[in-house]
Structure formats: structure tokens, C-alpha cells
Amino acid sequence: MARYIGKRAITGVVMVILSVCINFTLIRLAPGDPIRIMAGTDNPNQAMIDTLTKKYGLDKSIPEQFVMFLAGIAKGDLGFSYVSHENVVDAILLKLGPTLMLSLTALIIAVLLGTTLGILAARKVNSWWDKFLCGISYVFDSTPSFWLGLIMILVFASALHIFPTSGMVNLRVQSKGLGRILDIAYHLVLPVTTLVCIQTPYYFRIARSSVLQVMAEDFITTFKATGMPRKKVFNKYVFKNAMLPTITVVGMSIAFLFSGAVLIETVFAWPGMGRLLIDSISRRDYPILTGIYFIISVAVATMMILIDIVYGIVDPRIKHDQPST
């Protein structure tokens, strides 16, 4: 087990280095001059350009810049934003809270709801209830999240005035303590509901199909033959076997949480990582982009190892088998 985890850890590190490498090169190769944006005017003077170029190390070659970047990472320093001149780590940490609040809440609800409905549908496969849930899941799967968000705003905010249209807090009423928590929760309702609608079908289908798959296994016939009540077979044996795929998928979803829900954050003007990302792209704010990418890579690698550890506990086959692709 330890050796296996060690091996996965090495793969993880290689993955982080590789993806940062690709990302770094890609961004630097792109057309568009960040200095002009930084200088802020259409015709900046040469002295200003020179100072800025030097300050951000843009006079060096791309390999040199990459080495500087790696040296920075080793010290926990991801550089400074071209635009706001903030420390990248600080800028990202500031947005991480709101993003996790939104995406994690939605993920937890979607996983619980989707898995429960998936199990219920699988237990009554081909019933009208199963068909109804499958039909709904197809429709929500085909719905663009940003559009659903807009419709939610149109209906529940603009027309019915039940919920706020956007943002995380009411800027006119600066509340503190419990009031602030309630205010944020109030602002969370629409974006979370949108995300839940979009993500639930995914977990629904995984749970449904893996329960059906496990129900067709030979050992289910064995337990049936032994006279074990169906409920017990299901709760103890089907459940544990069928939850394995969900564990993997949830793990990966948690890893990608860090990049934020770009579209939903845009629709609801939620001050999270997704917005930061979009803004950084349009402003050519390379340090922020590279920083976000680095953090996502680390998160993915870490989650990958965590999933393996969890799997090692729940699935005894893992210690021996090669991980399947």
C-alpha cells in the first residue's frame, strides 16, 4: 500500500510539473502584450515600458522566466499580479473562500441528491418513476448552466423578487456576525440551486448504472440463494460495491472545485476563482493565470492520492491490481 501510494505521489508531482510547464509556455507564447495593458495608456512612454518589463522579469527569455517561476514556487511565492500588483497567493486566497462556499455546497447537495435518486431509480428500474427521473436527468444534462442561471434570475429575482439577482452580500446593508451569514446564505440560494440542477444528473446516472451493474453480479444470486433478505443484501453488499465509482468521481470533482464554476460565478457576479480567472484572461494577467493553474494542478494531484488511499480502504483489490485506466 505505502509503495503504491508512493508511486502515485511521484506521478502526481510529475503531473504538476508537466501541466505547469505546458501552461507557462502556452501563456507566454500567446499574442498580446501585457506591458501595454499594465502601462494603462494607449501610448506609454518608453521609460515606463522599460521599468515595467524589468520589474516583472519580462526582459528575460522564457526558460529563464520559468526557472524564476519555479524558484518562486519553492519559496511559496507565485509572483505579483500585473494589474492589481497584489501578491498572487493573496489574490487567489481571497477568492478561494467564496468559490468553495458556492461550489462545495452545491457539490455536497448534488452528490447526496443524485446518489439517493440514482439508487431509488435503480431499485425500481423501468418503473414510471425510474423513467421520469431519467427523462429529467437528460433534460438538465442538456441545459447550459449559465442559461439556467439567467432563467433563475429572471423568474425568482426579477419577476418574483424572492431572491437577490447577484453578488455575495447586500452592499447597502453592511451586516456583521449572524446577519452577514444569513445575508450570504440568502445570496447563495439561486447560484447553488442552479449548480445542483446541472450537477445532480451526473451523480444520478453514475449511482443508477453502478447499482444496476452490481445487481447483475453473480454474488447477488448467491446471496439470494442463501435466503438473505433483499434489504440486507442491498444495504450491505450492493451499496458498498456500487459506491466505488461515485467515490472516484466525487474526488475528482472536489479537485476541480478550486477552479470555480466559471460560468455560474459570471452569471451571478459571485466574487470567486472563476471570475478571477476570466478577468485575468481578458487582462493578460499571466502571474494570476499561472498561479490558478498551479493551484488546480496541486489540488488534482492531492485528490488523486487521497482517492487512492480511500480506495485502498474500501476496495481490497486495489493493493494488488494495477489501477485501471
Binding site: 454474488f219 448467491t222 440463494a225 442463501t226 440486507k232 458498498k240 481490497p316 483489490r317
Partner: protein, 259 residues
């Protein structure tokens, strides 16, 4: 009347292309401590017939007739009533032993769960002793108790399946192609052990097989099936030495040719 009576049993599967008959008008009686071989090629209905006894057939199977055990028609019992008979009176050793148990639960724990289904009063220590005793009886080391299915070989898993079938001290054990997947040496050994176990546990045994040599060496009664019908049935010595049906002769010839 024997321990198990099969009366006018017809089994068909409903499919989108219409009904498919798997067993046609089967009639036979099994006496206590008989060793009955049901022999036939794949598709002859032998497994369908055997699985019908405990109603382990897929949902699209329709069974008519009567299967009488201990004065009760098994086909007329409710799920709960049938669950009492399953394993406590009649158990099965399945063909695919590698996948006969859950891959993510320990073997000992699964066996204990099965036992407790029928007898929840037993103490933990006693139950563990019982399971380990059975594992030992079928020639498995004690550590198997804490192992998982994938950690065992095909032969070992087959022994686990046999131990599992004896767990609740049944009267009848159905062996469904129980040794087909094993290599010849292991098959020979396990068949011998099955003979010993039958003696020891005073079992009535039903052997489903396509291999007439298995019937010849381990059974005293034989039922020959072809295309869902019972062609002939009787004592092994009578049927194998003086076969009446053409098909039985063919089966015997092909076996003799191999030997």
C-alpha cells in the same frame, strides 16, 4: 414420495421475440441421500431446471407445475417462506465460484452473515469456530477467513463455495457445473472430497454437468436432458450401460472416444 418431487414442470422465458421454452414437462423424484446427475449440453435446460428449485431464475422466467419439498410446493411459497428453506434445507454451489462472493467483503464475514440469516442466536465465537471448522473440512487454511475472493485461486474459491453451501447444514446441495472451470487434477480431487462430504453430512446431492464422466464417477442416479426435455432417467448403471435414447448413446460414445 422422495425428498424432492418435480411434477409437470414447464419453464419458459418471455422475450421480445416471443416465449422460449427452456424445460418441457419435467417429472422426476429424488430420494434421500441420492446422488443425482443431470446431464446435457449447454442449452438443454439442466441449469434452468436446477435453478428453478430455489427460484433463482431471472425475472422473465415463468415456471409452471409443482416442486414438492418436505410436503410443500416450493413454487407456491411466498418470498419469506422460501427464504427459510433456502440454504437451511437446500443450498447451491455455483459454477462461477470466483464471482460467487462480494469482492470487497472478507470471506469469513460473508459466511457469518449467511449463517446468521437463518440462526441469529449463535454467539460470535461459536460462529467463527463453525466457519473455520467448515473451511478446514474442505481443506482450506485458517487464514482464508480473513481473505478476499480475489486473493484465492479458482480451486480455493470452489472450496469456499462448497464450505458456504454446507454452512447451515442443508439436506440437499445442488452443484451447478461446480468443477467445470477447474483443471483436471484439481477437479478429480474436489470430486473425491465431495463424495466424502456427502457421506459425512448425509447429503442429498444434485450434480448439474455436461460431463458424463463426472456422473459416472460420482452419482448413483442420472437424468439425461436434451432441448428442454428429459430423454431418460434411472440408475447410473442401467442408463449408462444400456442407454435407450439415441442422444444418450451419442453422449456416451463421445465420452468413450475421448477416453
Amino acid at each position: 414420495m422422495g425428498i424432492l418431487d418435480i411434477r409437470n414442470v414447464n419453464i419458459r422465458y418471455t422475450t421480445q421475440d416471443g416465449d422460449v421454452f427452456a424445460v418441457k414437462n419435467a417429472n422426476f423424484t429424488i430420494e434421500e441421500q441420492d446422488a443425482v446427475g443431470i446431464v446435457g449440453e449447454s442449452g438443454s435446460g439442466k441449469t434452468t431446471l436446477a435453478m428453478a428449485i430455489l427460484q433463482l431464475l431471472p425475472g422473465n422466467a415463468i415456471i409452471d407445475g409443482e416442486i414438492i419439498y418436505d410436503g410443500k410446493n416450493l413454487l407456491a411459497l411466498s418470498e419469506n417462506e422460501l427464504n427459510k428453506i433456502r440454504w437451511d434445507d437446500i443450498s447451491v454451489v455455483f459454477q462461477k465460484s470466483m464471482s460467487a462472493l462480494s469482492p470487497v467483503h472478507k470471506i469469513g464475514a460473508q459466511m457469518e452473515d449467511v449463517y446468521r440469516t437463518h440462526d441469529s442466536s449463535i454467539s460470535r465465537a461459536k460462529l467463527k469456530e463453525h466457519v473455520n471448522g467448515l473451511l478446514e473440512t474442505v481443506g482450506l487454511p485458517e487464514r482464508v477467513y480473513n481473505m478476499y475472493a480475489h486473493e484465492l485461486s479458482g480451486g480455493m474459491m470452489q472450496r469456499v463455495s462448497i464450505a458456504l453451501s454446507l454452512l447451515n447444514n442443508p439436506k440437499i446441495v445442488i452443484f451447478d457445473e461446480a468443477t467445470t472451470a477447474l483443471d483436471v487434477v484439481v477437479q478429480e480431487k474436489i470430486l473425491n472430497e465431495i463424495l466424502d462430504l456427502q457421506e459425512k453430512f448425509r447429503l442429498t446431492r444434485i450434480m448439474i454437468t455436461h460431463d458424463i464422466s463426472v456422473v459416472a464417477s460420482t452419482c448413483n442416479k442420472v437424468i439425461v436432458m436434451y432441448d428442454g426435455e428429459i430423454l431418460e432417467a434411472g440408475d447410473v448403471d442401467d442408463v449408462l450401460l444400456k442407454p435407450k435414447a439415441e442422444y444418450t448413446k451419442k453422449l456416451l460414445n463421445s465420452y468413450l472416444n475421448i477416453v
